[in-house]
């Protein structure tokens, strides 16, 4: 199976994640689109790891997953604090420095 | 290629039937055991010794009115019990039941549906995703008891998952593989000629700590007493499955018992030697190969004797069942079958012992309060599992 099929899938997922990031208004959905983009990148890494027969790609995916976990934890904590202050999850209402 | 697919489908169908029947009769087993522990009889009237009680319960669940409360999120409300039950049953696919290979339709296949190289990780993956059934059920029911129960239940499951997976690392260090069949094979052999080298008493470092950690985490993971605050009747109505009726509730119920069976299977494979016999396989101890037929023979005689003195319809059924067991016992001593039945017999025996302890613990110990539960999981079990990993790796390194 040519590797380019897997890369096409990865490109589609990344594009969908980018579309979601730009078009959506709920901060948590934006966050989930970022996770979608990270997943697309993981797929590309694994596909290339298989293509070249090396395992460094899988090591990178390991680190990407760990970093995504840390980032999700801190990012969601920030979202909780912001929503407590502004009482809204709509990014268009979080556009002023002062309430 | 097509024949192999067909053989796999046959194995899946047989195993599904076996698992669903076991889950139904596990409920009967628990009710009888709980009753006898409490000095009463338990189900007795529906069929002889209550043996048809699961069928009656199934009919009740199917025929009850199916209520959907107002204001629920329909899609999530419907898929939550589906997710729970599907994941609970799929865990059994990775479990090997015996070493022998059987021939179906001319193809020789092992006694396991999917013998993948990361079998242990696959079962843990299925357990991790099972948290969603509980969380989504609690949230979608649009009720305070459900939401609170669902959040607490899923937080508890996620916390105890950590010590569950960590307590198994000791076994992995000793065996060096994630493949379940290989884990069992490496527990073969006998130290001092008579003590089996199961992981519970294995030579470099007996995994007693690991087993205790695993068992306690498994009870918490399946939301059973004494860790069932989030779904106990006297505490929070019924927790995350308050608003579910008839068959959807049955799916949660069956899912809980199916995950109990999966966890018991995993405990026997990892710590109790899986399908290995506790007797050394020497020529002088060849009579131990007749233990399965002996057990079935005793069961048959007990059923026939009991049936003769039974009042009511059981007079006919129990002796018939006894005769069936007698035929099975005869079958198990024939030369073709006797080698093949050893593995599954010991495996099922050990699972029964583990399930017995499971039910025994439920009806003996009082419940933990939620904060005590979380403190126990994070501050006691998790460091204990870490200690087990450190000690086991020390033992392995010093043994080299």
């Amino acid at each position: 199976m040519p590797i380019s099929y897997y890369l096409a899938l990865s490109a589609v997922l990344f594009g969908l994640g980018a579309i979601g990031f730009v078009f959506r208004r709920n901060i948590i959905t934006i966050f989930m689109s970022i996770e979608l983009m990270l997943n697309a990148v993981n797929l590309a890494f694994i596909a290339f790891a298989r293509a070249w027969g090396q395992l460094q790609g899988q090591v990178f995916v390991f680190f990407v997953i760990v970093v995504a976990a840390a980032e999700a934890a801190v990012g969601l904590a920030i979202v909780i604090v912001i929503s407590r202050n502004r009482h809204s999850l709509n990014v268009e209402r979080i556009n002023l420095l002062k309430l | 290629m097509g024949v192999i697919l067909l053989v796999s489908l046959i194995k899946v169908a047989v195993l599904m039937f076996f698992v669903l029947t076991s889950v139904a009769y596990l409920v009967w087993f628990e009710r009888k055991l709980a009753a006898h522990l409490q000095g009463r009889w338990g189900p007795y009237r529906v069929g002889p010794h209550g043996l048809l009680q699961p069928l009656a319960d199934g009919a009740k669940f199917l025929l009850k009115e199916d209520i959907t409360p107002a204001g629920v999120d329909r899609f999530v409300y419907y898929i939550a019990p589906l997710v729970t039950m599907t994941l609970a049953i799929s865990g059994i696919a990775m479990v090997p039941f015996g070493p022998a290979e059987i021939r179906i339709l001319g193809v020789t296949t092992p006694l396991v549906i999917a013998n993948i190289n990361v079998g242990l990780l696959a079962i843990f993956a299925i357990t991790s995703v099972g948290v969603y059934g509980v969380a989504l059920a609690g949230w979608s029911s649009n009720s305070k008891y459900s939401l609170l129960g669902g959040l607490r239940s899923s937080a508890q499951m996620v916390s105890y998952e950590l010590s569950l997976t960590l307590s198994v690392v000791g076994v992995l260090l000793l065996a060096g593989s994630f493949n379940l069949s290989e884990l069992i094979v490496r527990q073969g052999g006998f130290s001092w000629r008579y003590i089996p080298q199961w992981n519970l008493f294995s030579p470099p470092f007996p995994q007693v700590l690991g087993f205790v950690c695993y068992f306690i985490s498994a009870i918490a993971e399946t939301n059973r007493a004494p860790f069932d605050l989030a779904e106990a009747e006297s505490e929070i109505v019924a927790g995350y499955h308050t608003e579910y009726s008839s068959f959807k509730f049955a799916m949660f119920f069956l899912g809980e018992y199916a995950s109990m069976i999966t966890v018991a299977c995993l405990a026997t494979i990892l710590f109790l030697g899986g399908w290995l016999s506790p007797f050394p396989q020497t020529a002088s101890l060849y009579w131990t190969h007749y233990i399965p037929s002996a057990v079935l023979l005793i069961g048959a005689m007990a059923l026939i004797v009991d049936g003769v003195y039974y009042k009511g319809f059981g007079r006919i059924e129990l002796p018939v069942l006894g005769l069936v067991l007698f035929a099975l016992s005869f079958l198990c001593s024939r030369p073709g079958i006797i080698e093949g039945i050893q593995g599954p017999f010991w495996f099922l025996g050990k699972i029964l012992v583990v399930l017995f302890v499971y039910v025994w613990v439920r009806w003996t110990l009082p419940r933990f309060r939620y904060d005590q539960l979380m403190r126990f999981g994070w501050k006691f079990l998790f460091p204990l599992a870490l200690l087990n990993v450190v000690l086991t790796s020390l033992a392995v390194v010093m043994g080299k």
Binding site: M1, P2, S4, Y5, Y6, L7, A8, L9, A11, V12, L13, G15, L16, F23, N26, I28, M32, S33, E35, L36, N39, N42, A47, R50, A51, W52, G53, L55, Q56, Q58, V59, V61, F62, I65, V66, V67, A69, A70, A72, V74, L76, V79, I80, R84, H87 | F75, V76, N117, V118, L121, F124, A125, S128, V129, A135, L136, W139, V158, T165, F178
Partner: protein, 176 residues
Amino acid sequence: MTLQMLVFLVLAAVTVAAAVNVVILRHPIHSAIALIVVMVSLAGVFLTLEAEFIAALQIIVYAGAIMVLFVFVIMLLNAGEEERTNMSRMARYVGVPLAIVLLGELAYQVGAATFSMTAQPAANGAIHGLSMLLFQDFVFPFELTSILILIAILGALVLAQRREGVPAKREQQNVS
């Protein structure tokens, strides 16, 4: 159409359909469920690429822990559906078609490119090779990520706790 191609097509179709659902569905919980489906089917794709350990890791860590965090936060914040607004005319008639065209072009160009593949999977199993790499060549980043996780835990704890003396205000229904 080999079996491998068929399996990949089915998994890819499920992944793309779920990813489209993540972006389109209005309630964050439905998007979260769709994202979980994406991750599980991606784990299936990883299995076809002979990365079994990473597939199991993806399900256990990504779909089984990180997404649980997302679902808990959505339930905690009581996030409701996004309000339905008509997009500006520019977005609706120019933006969305352009986005789809861009996506199609990207997929086509990447898919049509030919990469020379040596295609030799790791000899004694991916787990053995992976752990050798992780603990010999990449041991420093490995230890660094454990410190990173510690920092993340502390950060999340400090950020999300309620301050002393501030009475917990009743969270109003979130208008998102």
